[in-house]
């Protein structure tokens, strides 16, 4: 190896090393998957299925009216941030009704795969979409193991809540845990509706606050989360599942 080749190789190695260091820094910063929650709220939800009446749809309606989710009269494109399903064991057992919504996972696969970081996890644990940045690739919908994410295929004509924006077609979305209400000290629409319906099955609160109702419910009851084996660390806890 002559001197020129040595210098070229050395320069190349230096460049590669610098690029590699930069890449590692980018890698650990990009993605916004982890969040520092100490000293902040850490929002979670408890769904008490013992109190949820199978025929009641109060939370579904309230969510739609509060958040202007697309309602175009076609099951293919209607968006349901919160929904109710019937679950029956395959080999005998009673059918029961379960409320499903975005679990605001601590390790959200949707945020991990978003190519433009439009879906991200806030410091208070809420997983939310920046609708001005979303390019509508729908990879987050593929990645969500709970089928909790939706896409605005068609805009609806209605705009029930003028104090909250309507999304244009072409962006993905899911339940925001009514972050716009939580941020001003109010309860999410579904929680309020469930209270008005005299059920009180839905509770949203601060998991970082040991005195909060949700922390008490989680520590005193046998709670279960969906697909705990996946490692997503969902923050919706079910009692009576």
């Amino acid at each position: 190896m002559d001197r020129r080749e040595f210098l070229t190789a050395g320069g190349g190695l230096l460049l590669a090393g610098a690029a590699g260091t930069y890449a590692v820094r980018l890698l650990t910063q990009a993605g916004a998957v982890e969040a520092v929650t100490a000293g902040r709220h850490r929002w979670g939800m408890v769904v008490d299925l013992r109190k949820c009446r199978p025929d009641c749809t109060a939370c579904l309606e309230a969510c739609r009216l509060e958040n202007n989710t697309a309602s175009v009269g076609d099951a293919r494109w209607d968006v349901h941030w919160i929904r109710k399903v019937h679950v029956k064991p395959k080999n005998g057992g009673a059918e029961r009704s379960v409320v499903l919504l975005c679990n605001h996972c601590d390790h959200p696969p949707c945020a991990q795969v978003c190519p433009v970081q439009a879906t991200y996890k806030r410091a208070d644990g809420i997983v939310i979409v920046d609708h001005h940045r979303c390019i509508g690739c729908r990879y987050c919908m593929i990645a969500c193991p709970y089928n909790a994410r939706y896409f605005n295929f068609k805009e609806s004509e209605e705009w029930p809540n003028k104090e909250f924006p309507k999304r244009s077609h072409g962006v993905a979305e899911s339940c925001t845990l009514c972050a716009h209400l939580l941020d001003v000290g109010k309860k999410p629409a579904c929680v309020q509706a469930c209270e008005r319906a005299q059920a009180g099955a839905l509770v949203v609160g601060d998991l970082n606050d040991p005195q909060s109702e949700i922390s008490r419910l989680v520590s005193e009851n046998s709670v279960k989360r969906l697909r705990e084996d996946l490692g997503t660390e969902p923050k919706v806890y079910y009692i009576g599942l």
């Binding site: 990009a30 929904r83 399903v85 991990q112 795969v113 190519p115 390019i135 593929i142 077609h169």
Partner: protein, 398 residues
């Protein structure tokens, strides 16, 4: 070995007709896309349960075809097989065009196409394969441009370096594309074999296409093409198809054997229309028939039959891309393992997907655009060799 490259005359009526046809189809696709952009994606067959459809299938298919054609030029540029030098320029140009086709297919599938030109570059996410892959695709196109420059200027050392880089990059590109699905939590996607199987299927489809396309091009432009060159590619194609079959066998046997995944495997293999596409399109027409044609002595030494095998593999890999994407979405995610989940609307349970006319229009439109660019390129650039013969000299290769 000196190869004389030429432009095609490109002044026949047929040539201009073909050019116009591709342009018309391409324009139709562009207009269709503008319409979809204005209406919203509800005009496609996709919906909240099946958010990816034909355009994504075509995107990964075109991307696969792009690396395949690079195999041919890699035979010359990387492995030094001079008998394939005549095809190098055409192969790299085609590889570049197919990568553009893949990007166009992805682009026209986005909900907010307008943001795609800025957001992914300003706010990328290195943890997302949808962010990494477009970087790989675009850099692949740039490498192809440099590769073409090296081939056109006959810079042998640069050719060697860029060919090797392109070859390695193709592996990265295809593994990355396979990983979009393989590294995902859907039962029928999640597989560490998917990146590798994607690479092999890409090479198979690309080789099959090159066989058919080269024979057609040389015949149409009355250029000499040594039969033995085609048979050599045919043998390579047979090898790739065997490896594709191997990966398919391992993946599916694993899913069937494991109790945990058996229900998913049975759905995939026998549970829907996609199963017909799998068995008839992929296994039957895409693998079994071509393998027979390429091994049976009477057909393996016949140009029309080898071309048929190539076309069948091209069709078969399209079927393979379809069964990679769609069944994983039509089968519901296991929110409650071991339970039957039902609900109002179409969110729960097994879904179905059928592309609409709009999606076919967009898919054909992409093909129209690159078909036009390819035909025009044959006339503008010196892509095709005057002839393709296996040199008989015994001296050192030049």
């Amino acid at each position: 070995m000196e190869v004389k490259y030429e432009r095609i005359a490109g002044n026949s009526r047929h040539y201009y007709l073909a050019l116009a046809a591709f342009a018309a189809v391409g324009l139709a696709g562009v207009l269709c896309t503008f319409w979809v952009l204005g209406q919203g994606l509800w005009v496609t067959g996709m919906y909240n349960r099946v958010p990816w459809g034909l355009q994504i299938v075509m995107a990964i298919y075109y991307i696969g075809l792009s690396a395949g054609s690079l195999v041919i030029s890699g035979l010359y540029g990387v492995f030094g097989k001079l008998e394939y030098k005549p095809f190098a320029r055409t192969a790299v140009y085609l590889g570049m065009l197919f990568m553009i086709a893949g990007l166009l297919s992805i682009l026209t599938d986005q909900g907010r196409m307008d943001r795609v030109f800025v957001q992914p570059f300003v706010h990328f996410n290195l943890l997302s394969l949808f962010s990494i892959n477009p970087m790989l695709y675009i850099s692949y196109i740039l490498i192809c441009i440099v590769y073409l420059y090296a081939l056109f200027r006959d810079k042998k050392k640069l050719t060697r370096v860029v060919a090797t880089l392109a070859f390695a990059w193709a592996f990265g590109v295809h593994s990355g594309t396979g990983a979009i699905f393989g590294f995902g939590p859907r039962t029928l996607y999640d597989s560490p074999l998917l990146p590798a199987s994607f690479v092999v299927a890409a090479m198979a489809s690309g080789t099959g296409l090159m066989i058919a396309l080269l024979v057609a091009l040389f015949r149409l432009t009355r250029r000499h093409l040594d039969d033995e060159l085609v048979f050599g590619l045919g043998r390579l194609l047979a090898l790739f198809v065997l490896v594709v079959l191997y990966f398919l066998a391992v993946e599916n046997l694993y899913l069937v054997y494991q109790v945990e995944w058996r229900a998913a495997a049975l759905y995939y293999l026998f549970g829907g229309f996609h199963s017909v596409i799998f068995w008839v399109g992929l296994i039957g027409l895409g693998c079994a028939v071509p393998l027979f044609l390429l091994f049976y002595p009477r057909t393996s030494k016949s140009i029309p039959w080898v071309v048929t095998a190539g076309c069948l593999v091209v069709l078969g890999v399209l079927c393979e891309r379809y069964v990679i994407v769609i069944p994983g979405l039509t089968r519901p995610p296991e929110i409650f393992p071991g339970m039957e989940v039902s609900g109002p609307g179409l969110i729960e349970g097994v879904a179905s997907y059928a592309p609409t006319l709009v999606e076919f229009c967009q898919a054909l439109g992409v093909l129209g655009i690159i078909g036009f660019l390819f035909l025009a390129g044959l006339k503008v650039f010196k892509l095709l060799p005057a002839e393709a013969r296996i040199a008989k000299q015994a001296g050192p290769a030049s």
